[in-house]
Subunit: 230 residues, 4 copies
Amino acid sequence: MDSSDIHTEVGRLLNGPAYLKDPDSSETGRDILLFGAEMMACGGIESFTFRKLASRAGITEATVYRYFSNKHQLLLYLLNRYWNALEYKAMQETVHINEPLERLQRLAELLTGPVAQAGKDEFAGHLYAIAMSESVKVHLGTETGSDWQKGMLNGYARITGLVAETLRTANPDYPYPRAWAATFVDSAMQQQFLLRHLPELTEVQSAPTSLTRFLLSLIPQQESKEHASF
Amino acid sequence: MDSSDIHTEVGRLLNGPAYLKDPDSSETGRDILLFGAEMMACGGIESFTFRKLASRAGITEATVYRYFSNKHQLLLYLLNRYWNALEYKAMQETVHINEPLERLQRLAELLTGPVAQAGKDEFAGHLYAIAMSESVKVHLGTETGSDWQKGMLNGYARITGLVAETLRTANPDYPYPRAWAATFVDSAMQQQFLLRHLPELTEVQSAPTSLTRFLLSLIPQQESKEHASF
Amino acid sequence: MDSSDIHTEVGRLLNGPAYLKDPDSSETGRDILLFGAEMMACGGIESFTFRKLASRAGITEATVYRYFSNKHQLLLYLLNRYWNALEYKAMQETVHINEPLERLQRLAELLTGPVAQAGKDEFAGHLYAIAMSESVKVHLGTETGSDWQKGMLNGYARITGLVAETLRTANPDYPYPRAWAATFVDSAMQQQFLLRHLPELTEVQSAPTSLTRFLLSLIPQQESKEHASF
Amino acid sequence: MDSSDIHTEVGRLLNGPAYLKDPDSSETGRDILLFGAEMMACGGIESFTFRKLASRAGITEATVYRYFSNKHQLLLYLLNRYWNALEYKAMQETVHINEPLERLQRLAELLTGPVAQAGKDEFAGHLYAIAMSESVKVHLGTETGSDWQKGMLNGYARITGLVAETLRTANPDYPYPRAWAATFVDSAMQQQFLLRHLPELTEVQSAPTSLTRFLLSLIPQQESKEHASF
DNA sequence: GATGAATGAGCGTTCATTCAT
DNA sequence: AATGAATGAACGCTCATTCAT
């Protein structure tokens, strides 16, 4: 009825962890992440509940609540973790590449495979699946404008920003770099889904290079150069 | 909630309606569609329940169950209705266009605005919103392979097929027409979302031509021409 | 999470029933009132829950929720019922009494015994106990100013108003008729409590006339008359 | 929640503190009293929990349990403290007053304002608020006869006893001194409540003399004297 | 063909309490 | 002496669904 003062929302919200108690600080906490990631990845957040998680992880519901105040916070945390790891790796691996097209290729490769947080997360694969399936749901979610959404989209925005920036150096005249970046990132995820579940709807093959090649084919051509070549 | 045991008992599943009793056959049925579309569009399926629908439409829950065996079937029905109307219109409006690029432009236009089922559906706008937000969720949904998903994706598949076919005539050498078509359709929806809710993430403007132009910019260039230009 | 539109709060709030579905309209509803009254009377609202009520009445929790949206609404309803019955009887039985002191005596008698709603409520005794113990809690409750409190206090206010008015005719010069009326009514309840549970703290006896006599002793004397009598 | 098995293990129950470990013996203990009083006064015991208290006081729940075995014991302790302080002051300030009516006036004044335990309790105001609101709840509480109630009512009984005794000297013929004393004390608290929250139900004003005057008006007149005056 | 009444199961959350450290 | 971690049990509430009428 009241309880307005106990949810202290520990942890930075934007661009950082949001939790009540650092899940990395205990075995139980790590289990929550591990099993939570696995269950969300397999069954979707829709049907994911703390009850099921607790029984899966062999702990009690109340214990889960010591770490995350609700399942959305847990999802948020996991996704942030994924986006952060992705961003970090993207920065690290592209900073030394001068050729923008080559850089986009590297980004495409990163977007098409799971990314672990520096070896820490054995559940990187799960995080990847969650990010893929749930972030889109979030984009299209109904609770637009809420803090929760802002938290969700933050990582996504940073990645698309990175892609957009790269495209801008590759093709400064293209008028829609940000829109294109969003398409690029989502297409990477979408194709991954089609590849696995509806292969008859795409030519993309299971070999990772196949998807990368398709993604690169989306890069808009520099018209000016062509004109100049005459 | 788990929706793993969805009953398809009555009504053709593929390419057609799935219901227990034809909602178009009674005023009550039409109310279910009308209010159902409205409520799903506004609040998302997540929070949509037959309870709320019934109270909104001034009928009882039990009555709703006479038409649709659960909310997923209703969603399925509504989405199919949308895709069918869209496909129908797309066929009708592009069949006489010879120039494939012009055809793609028309398709892009159709994908970026609500489509009514030949005047029947006053709630076309709602259907469009649902299709936009929910179909993507469905694509990425967890119940892959279920009859339910197949039903969902059927309309989507036919539209992307149409787009792919058109692209193939426009650029026969492009190696990923189907993959591209999926990207094209989803990008149309995604940009619509960004435009409304996260305009800072895209250059696309609210003027409909803006989105259309961006979508056309995704069309892959004929490389042969470029080769020929040397 | 939303559910803001299903609680339609049927029934007039002030001075009337507040329920989702009229409990008098079904056997189940009447059981809810009966067992609810009994349980609240015995164990207090504190420890009263719909769960326990349901299991006591041999129905399910969900069924209880069809009638009352929460236990406070049920309590409110029961108390209103008591106050209304009391007020009705008070009006009926005092309207023909001309002598104000005699009227106060009748009111005191009414306040010191259970009042049934015209034979309808076999649980009048319970209602009385609840009214006695819980209404005071409500008076002193923390959620002052809420609609809930207003609903609670309405019946109380009408009774004290009646008493105050009567006193005013009996002793027009007394400067605190409303304050006195509140004291009068609460004292009736308090003494009833002491009599039962802490008899060593009061001289009032179990014979009903004993309490009535004490209450009448609280009536402030007309000083003017006495002076005039000289 | 049912509080039927309250442990009184340590500490004298009647007329003295009941605790596991003397809260006055440590800073932590004093914090428990201070914040506990504050929180109970503001939100009511209903919603008061050791969890909230602990987080407010910057300690752990487990620590609180070292001092008081449950929230009822804490409440009991605080109320006792209030009544004791009140009784002490009442004794001290009235012992030298010979005129019983004057004495009652002094008692009325004490009952209508906060009383500190000889400068020890900065939270006297809170104690007062708790005593006011909760003691009545206790009187009417459902757990009659329990040790817990006896503890609660002890201080109350001593105060009413004092008042009754005083009245007896003022008006030896009045047949209900104890009943009247209970009414007097409760009326003081009740009017205080009405004054603050429902001023339309009383003529008593915020000036302290107003309430005192009303309380004095409740003192029963010596009929014998009047008779004698003839 | 539609309704009213009811149910069983589950969810999210909080609480009082315990115990090893 | 105090903490951190965890638990079991309950609570309030909603949902999808069924069935007699």
